[in-house]
Structures are given as C-alpha cells and as structure tokens.
Amino acid sequence: MHLEVKNLTKIYNKYIAVDNINFKIEKNKTIGLLGPNGCGKTTSIGMILGLISPDKGEILINDKNINIYKRDEILSKLNFASPYVELPKKLTVKQNLEIYGRLYGIKDLEKSIYEISNDLDIKKFFERKTGELSSGQKNRVALAKSLINKPKILLLDEPTASLDPDIGDFIRSYIQNYKSKNDVTILLASHNMNEVERLCDSIIMMRSGKIIDQGTCTELIKKHGRNNLEETFLKLARGADEFQ
C-alpha cells in the first residue's frame, strides 16, 4: 500500500500545527519524519491514524481518500506503536495481545501471538502484567501489538526512545528484518539519527508545521554541506543562520 498526504493542514485556534504539507510514501518504503519537538510530527501521525480531523487537505491510501474507506476497513490495515501510548497496565502481556488480536479480527490468533512473541522474545514475560515490565519490555510488547494484524502501513513514533543501546539495536534489527520479509510501508518519527539512517529510505524534515526539506539521508547531508545527519538536522531545525 502507498500513502500520500496532500495539502494537509491542522489549525488549533489560531496556532498552525501542520501547515499545508505534502508527501508520498511508496509501497514498502520507509520514510523518516524528523523535526524538533512541537514541529507537527505527532499531529501529522494523528491525522493519518484518523484520530485528528484535518482542517484542510487529504490523506490518500492507494490513491483513495481515507474518508471513502469504511473506518474499520482502513484501520485494519494500519497500526501504530509509540512508547507514549500504553497498553492496559493491569492486563498481562498475553491478555493484551489476545484482546488486540480479537479487535483486529485475526483469524488464527493463537498462532499469530505465538509467532510474534517468539520473534520479539516476549514469551518469557507473557503472564506478567504489562505495567510491571521495564521500558524495553514494554516497547517490545507495543511493537508486537502494532504488528499483530500484519499492517500494510505501520506508523512508529520514536520506537526506541529511552531504551538502552542493546534493546534499541534489537528493535531496529527486528524492524529491518520484519520489513525485508513483509509488505509494509513505514512512517517513522524519530530523534535518533543513527536509527533514521539505518532504517529509512528517505526522510522528511519538518519545522513549525511545515516540511522544510526532503530526500535521502545522503542527499540531504550533501545538499546542506554537513558531515552527518545529526548536523544536518541541527541546521534545518535551528535554521541555517542560527547554526552558522
């Protein structure tokens, strides 16, 4: 599935959170959505997920406006993971996966849960309550939930935030490996530049609700005359004058 955003705008009172953005993610590609805090990344993701109504513009999936699809038809093909969104804390990992598997209408649920749990190495804390897990364990469970329906479009909001390098690397490797075996289009919001360089085919840079640049990592680094993506990010996030 490919995803396209056209003239997308969101205004809260008089504050423009997302300002007329346009981008397209081709099928099976991973796009990184970068920008400083408050630049409109989460609002953009929220609009794609149908949690926020845009004030202007449209979101197209396979060239069809998402409003044309039935709500449950389109949501069954999407999923989302973020460390800032939690699963019910008082339920065990297994119970949470079972419930979300049922909500997504997964046919062979036991098998799906078994496979995904093995892959993400979460079986050993299957019977523990989700709220009792460490950050790294919670992130893996959140990722398992986001892949339970084998989504065609996956939105990830800082999937490795606040994780130690080992667990962070495990998750990045898993996403890379998962993508190589499955048809999935990914939109990744992250502040980790190594992660973005490793996982993304190209990136979109946002600032103050606008897209200020886009291209592959190599292209952007070269275009802005920097040594790496982090320096490029700083230049674009702060504005060229301030950085120099």
């Binding site: 809260y12 008082k90 119970q95 909500l103």
Partner: protein, 263 residues
Amino acid sequence: MNFNKIYALGLRHLYLIMNSFPRVLDLIYWPTVQIFLWGFISKFFTLNSDYYNNTVGIILTAAILYDFLFRASISFNMMFLEEIWSRNFTNLFIAPIKIREIIASLTLTAILRTLIGLVPAVLISIPLFGVSILKLGLPLLFLLISLYLFGVSLGLFVTSGLLRFGPSFENIAWASLFFLAPLGCIYYPIEILPNTLQILAKGLPLVHIFEEMRSILINEQVNYYNILKSIIISIVYFILGVIIFYASYYGAKKRGTLINMGE
C-alpha cells in the same frame, strides 16, 4: 455490528476484574454497605412510621434499585475511565472497532460489573432483613430495564464530557448521579417536591419507576402504563446520550484531544 469485537472489548474489562481480587472486593463492598445501612434505616422506619407501617422493605427495595442504577452508570463511566488511566485511548481508537461497537460493549459489560456488585448484596438482604426485591414480581424486570437504560444514558453523558473536556471531567463522573437523586423521588413520593420541581422530576424515568415500586409494595397494584412510560423516557435519554457521545467524539477529533488523552 461485529460481536467478536464487542466481546473483545468486554473481555478486556473482564480480565481487569479477574486479575485483581481487590477490584472484585471493591465491586461488592459498596453495595453491601448500602444494603446494611438502608436495611437498618428501613427496619427503624417500619417500626416507627405510619406511612411505612406494615410495608417492610420499601426503603430497602428503593435503596437496592437506586444502587442498581448507580452501579450501572458508574460501571459505564469506570470502564471508559480505565482507558484514560491506562493511556490506552490511542490504541483503542485506532483499532478497527466502530464507535457503536464501543458503546455496545460498554453497555453490555456494565451489566456484568453491576451484577457482580449487586447480587451478593441482594442475597444478603433476604436472610438479614427479610426483604427480597423479587417480591415486586414480573414488573421488577421492566423496572430494572428502565433503570439500566437510564444508568447507561447517564454514563454516556459523562463519557461524552470526558471526551469533550478530558480527564478533568472525572469528578463530574462521580458526582453525576447525586445531582439527580433529589429529583428522582427514590425514598419519598413526588408530592414532597415543590410544584416546579415536580414538573422537572416527571421528565426523569426515576420518578415513575420509584412511584410504581411503592404502588406495587403498598397497594399491590401494577400500572404497566407507568412502567412503559419510564422505559420510553429512558430510551429517549439513551438515544440522546448516543447522539451526544458521537458529537463529543467528532469534537475531540477536531480538537486533537484523542491522541493525548491520559492521566
């Protein structure tokens, strides 16, 4: 409507109850305390009041029915609040479940929570105070349906407020039923209210339900017209509740509050 999804969301709340003994205890504790309190008050009044003379258990029956309403409404609110407290809102609202399926699931699961709390209390009242609400006979079923629909409607109004105003509306959730209790004429006849309030009170199903309950217990007469009236009023409130819930949901999408809803 997809019943597997309705069941899945219900299962989420069932697991929550089953995973925690204190939670089960909490569900049973308050109705039981209510029964004890009103049981003793009822016993005192039946011995010392002309109005209640020889009609053992009117107050206790009223207390049980009111608690049924209270539990139904609070259960609905609580299940919605659980999603906010656990910061699960985003996951829930991006799952392929329709809004009407969420409402259906909360409505159906609320009855389970209500019964877990109330059945033990009702059973206790039989040997302890010699009062059984089953004495109301078949009309009891219709009175409970009316109460349940109204309780869920109040739950819908409160959850709409939570969607509109966020978790800060939580206190209203707890207080919502107490606003209406004086007008509901639960423990006294409607004539006690001033004339202007009587007009308002008649717009609530509670007055018709509790007037009918007293009529059955005191006069041993059933007026099905009154019961039907109470059910129709409850249905009107329920439909209104669903409309307001949808409006709040779309309002929350416009304001972008669904994505950040949490403690």
